[in-house]
């Protein structure tokens, strides 16, 4: 029986190609939308959880949206006076705060560290941000020639990397967060300042103040979440700063992201429905076209059940092949879509782990098989219910 299925698929290339196309596009859309939706959700969840700060304070001159500051590698080489750190710490309701000093790598770095753009100098004495991101927390302070890298940086623990002409040993690689942190590298703030001061291409930045007197950001944790708004207002009163309430930004981002994902799911649902209807049309057409053939099969000894099974087997096999093609298409398409969406919206994206991805693959494949079988069910039943003589006669007329 399976040979009949194979021959029908193989020797009706136009029909096969059209069915495969419809199913593959639907599966690709389903896979891409779920992957994108879940990846964005995960990115935001993890990004927010790992951020660790309730308020992020940045220099006022930065012209960027709050979510851009939080979830991308932004900003770079923009500074404020380090005295602001103490002013912020002194504001009532601030539980703890830690300064950071950003600089960037000059072009590509050697020895495997190629994709890090931002180098973050952190203060190990006050830090409450970098530590929790580590897979294994160092049981000793970071030394001046050690570096911690984000998950997207192509270096492993133990590798030596060159940053602004100086060798560093990678001691830790952070877990993925779906934010700009993944492409960043972390060193001691004093080292970051020294590297920045010695860089010929950054010298113009230090005409007014030495890097030792500057910081790029202050990350603040408050005593009570209720006080975030009032503390943001208090910080904003300080000269030359821009305070961003992280939780609020996360919530606003989540709202906007939900709109995007709901729209995405709705579009995929409509596409899926259109596919179901067009597949139904295709299978009905195919069955009408093959009425004589069905009558012949019955007259040669095929039972009703065999005809029913034949149509469903053909549909199921096509669904499986198309589903796999759709998944491959969806995988590649998603990568472009993810890049496009995250670049356009600053939404953090974190890909699904292997196990979840495998489950998603299987679900999409199952959805394809079930949808195609559903659309082939009525045509298969109709074919099976035809009397052989009538099928042959009607087939000849049609």
């Amino acid at each position: 029986m399976f040979i009949l299925v194979l021959r029908n698929i193989q020797r009706r290339p136009f029909h096969t190609a059209l069915t495969v196309f419809i199913v593959a596009v639907a599966v690709a859309a389903l896979f891409a939308s779920i992957w994108l939706g879940q990846g964005l959700e995960r990115g935001l969840e993890l990004g927010a959880k790992r951020l660790g700060a309730d308020i992020v304070v940045l220099p006022e001159q930065i012209e960027a949206k709050p979510e851009q500051m939080l979830f991308t590698g932004f900003p770079l080489n923009i500074y404020m006076d380090k005295s602001l750190y103490k002013d912020i710490l002194a504001i009532p309701g601030v539980k703890q705060a830690t300064p950071q000093f950003f600089t960037r790598t000059a072009g590509a770095m050697c020895c495997g560290l190629v994709s890090a753009g931002r180098v973050v100098g952190f203060d190990p004495d006050t830090d409450f941000i970098v530590g929790p991101w580590m897979k294994v927390v160092l049981d000793r302070p970071l030394t001046k020639n050690e570096i911690i890298v984000g998950s997207e940086v192509q270096a492993r623990a133990g590798d030596d990397v060159l940053v602004r002409g100086e060798l560093f040993e990678v001691v830790e690689r952070l877990e993925p967060t779906g934010t700009g942190i993944d492409g960043s590298a972390f060193i001691l703030m004093a080292t970051a300042r020294r590297l920045a001061a010695e860089s010929p291409d950054l010298k113009h930045l230090w005409r007014e103040k030495s890097p030792d007197k500057l910081i790029s950001a202050v990350l603040v944790q408050v005593e009570s979440p209720d006080k975030v708004s009032s503390i943001v207002q208090d910080i904003s009163k300080l000269p030359g700063v821009n305070a961003v309430p992280a939780l609020q930004v996360v919530q606003e981002t989540r709202q906007r992201m939900r709109t995007v994902t709901v729209l995405l799911y709705a579009l995929t649902g409509v596409l899926w429905l259109v596919s179901l209807v067009s597949l139904l049309g295709r299978f009905v057409g195919l069955v009408v076209e093959r009425k004589t053939e069905i009558g012949i099969l019955r007259s040669l000894g095929a039972m009703r059940w065999s005809v029913f099974r034949l149509i469903l087997l053909e549909a199921g096999f096509l669904a499986l092949v198309s589903g796999l093609i759709g998944l491959v298409l969806g995988w590649f398409a998603s990568r472009y879509v993810v890049g496009w969406v995250t670049a356009g919206t600053n939404f953090p994206f974190l890909s699904l782990p292997f196990a979840d991805m495998s489950v998603l693959f299987l679900w999409c494949l199952l959805a394809a098989v079930v949808t195609v079988l559903l659309s082939a069910l009525f045509p298969a039943y109709y074919s099976a219910s035809l009397d052989p003589a009538r099928a042959i006669a009607q087939g000849e007329l049609e």
Partner: protein
């Protein structure tokens, strides 16, 4: 072997009307018989063939095959009967367009259960050779001539060694030499013990049968009787 008693058949028509094509057919076929049925188009020849071939159930009357009425058979039994006992040659051959010559011949084997396909493939090749199709085994139906298609249909009908061969207009659309070639094949099969029931409008083919009937007013009349009546009417 096959017995038809008072078989009637009507087709439903729109508006609740019916079109009666068989009004009471009696026919007996024994092993090795060659029977032909002639008659005008729409006279019920193909309907009768379909009823004998278990493709259609009669409106009333009885069809008994090997002592068992087909009305009492299950769908599985009928399918098995069509697969194992009856060979069909349809008007217009009706090969499966997506299968090659060899695959078309093998089709009844694949549809039947419990048969060794490998030994049957040897038989399929042997049949193809017998009917001059050995160099067309991997061709698709649209690559064959009408005569070749008809021979493939005959080979397909014979693959499961049926006891009876039902042929609906087997020489239709063929030129006289090709038609005679097909007739020779069919009668040679009868020589080997196969029961043959031919439906045709070609008198030269019909008269080669042991018995010949014409469908008239929904019934079968022996051709000799009909001829006598015609002669009497003419007188």
């Amino acid at each position: 072997m096959i017995q038809l008693k008072e078989v009637k058949h009507s087709y439903p028509r729109p508006g609740g009307e019916t079109l009666t094509v068989l009004t009471g057919v009696d026919l007996t076929l024994e092993q090795g018989d060659v029977v032909s049925i002639v008659g005008p188009s729409g006279g019920g020849k193909t309907t009768l063939l379909n009823i004998i071939g278990c493709l259609l159930k009669p409106t009333s009357g009885q069809v008994v095959i090997d002592g068992k009425p087909i009305q009492s058979m299950t769908e599985r039994e009928l399918a098995r009967l069509r697969n194992q006992k009856i060979g069909f040659i349809f008007q217009g051959s009706h090969l499966i367009p997506t299968l090659t010559v060899l695959e078309n011949i093998m089709l009844p084997v694949w549809l039947g259960a419990g048969i060794s396909a490998r030994s049957q493939q040897l038989r399929a090749r042997e049949l193809a050779r017998r009917f001059g199709l050995e160099d067309r085994l991997n061709h698709l139906p649209h690559e064959l001539s009408l005569g070749q298609r008809r021979r493939v249909a005959i080979a397909r009908a014979l693959i499961n060694r049926p006891a009876i061969l039902l042929a609906d207009e087997p020489t239709n659309d063929l030129d006289p030499p090709r038609a005679q070639q097909i007739a020779d094949i069919l009668f040679s099969l009868n020589q080997e013990g196969l029961t043959l029931l031919l439906v045709t409008h070609r008198w030269e083919l019909a008269q080669q049968a042991q018995r010949c009937y014409e469908t008239k007013d929904g019934q079968l009349q022996s051709v000799e009787v009909w001829q006598k009546e015609n002669i009497a009417e003419a007188d």
